[in-house]
């Protein structure tokens, strides 16, 4: 076992740790989740007609109301 270590380029760790689920798929899960979130909520917040009740200030042009 001591002899085989010399074949290793890295001498500090004589055991290479097998990458776990998070090493292999972590980035994918993170970006995928962020993408799903952005798409779904982007659509929900803007396209389905939810009334947010934004302030008229700077947005609405007042219109005559007296009949």
């Amino acid at each position: 076992l001591a002899r085989s270590v010399q074949h290793n380029a890295v001498r500090q760790a004589h055991r290479k740790y097998e990458p776990d689920f998070h090493d292999k798929y972590g980035n994918l899960v993170l970006l995928g989740g962020a993408a799903v979130f952005t798409v779904v909520w982007g659509y929900a917040l803007t396209q389905i007609g939810i009334e947010w009740g934004f302030s008229p200030v700077g947005r609405v042009t007042p219109k005559e109301w007296r009949e």
């Binding site: 076992l1 001591a2 002899r3 270590v5 010399q6 001498r11 500090q12 760790a13 004589h14 055991r15 740790y17 776990d20 689920f21 998070h22 090493d23 798929y25 972590g26 980035n27 994918l28 899960v29 993170l30 970006l31 995928g32 989740g33 962020a34 799903v36 979130f37 798409v39 779904v40 909520w41 659509y43 929900a44 389905i48 007609g49 939810i50 009334e51 009740g53 302030s55 008229p56 200030v57 700077g58 609405v60 042009t61 007042p62 219109k63 005559e64 109301w65």
Partner: protein
């Protein structure tokens, strides 16, 4: 027990041993379960665990342990590392090493929050009724002018944001 003690005094050990054997069932000592023995553990606050990591040494490792009994200057670097690895599982650096678990956690959280958004979309489409007519653009525009005409909240509120001279919102 007393009988076997008495017999051992007399010297008839064979008989007393067999009495003991029959009393306990086997060897006289209950085999210690693994979990009741001191265990090895990697902990930052426990630098010297109660037992070595490797319990059963290979022939090679046994030879190395013999060599360890002699002068340590005779040991090569690799042998020293091997001795370390017999005694310990992870180094402090390995113990403290972070993981990428947060990516999976955060990604999972965002994904399921996304699914929640789907529920909301379904609700808006199939469950909620129409928004009241007082939210239509014409109504809101007329409503806004009426609020400004009656000087609603003139100190810090909506009328304070309207420039009555220029007839536009203040910049």
């Amino acid at each position: 027990m007393l009988a076997s003690r008495a017999f051992s005094l007399v010297g008839k050990r064979a008989l007393s041993t067999s009495i003991c054997l029959r009393a306990h069932g086997h060897a006289g000592v209950v085999k210690a379960e693994d979990f009741s023995l001191p265990a090895y553990v990697d902990r930052r606050d426990l630098p010297l665990p109660e037992v070595a990591f490797v319990k059963d040494l290979s022939a090679q490792q046994k030879a190395l342990k013999e060599k360890e009994k002699a002068s340590w200057t005779a040991l090569s670097i690799d042998e020293k590392v091997e001795l370390y690895r017999i005694k310990f599982n992870e180094t402090y650096a390995e113990m403290n090493k972070g993981t990428n678990e947060w990516k999976t956690v955060l990604g999972g959280v965002l994904f399921f929050l996304g699914l929640t958004g789907l529920i909301l979309i379904w609700q808006k489409r199939f469950m909620y009724g129409p928004v009241p007519h007082t939210f239509s653009d014409e109504w809101v525009a007329a409503q806004t002018k009426r609020m400004l005409d009656m000087r609603m909240n003139p100190v810090e509120g909506i009328s304070a944001q309207w420039d009555y001279e220029k007839n536009e919102w203040k910049k």
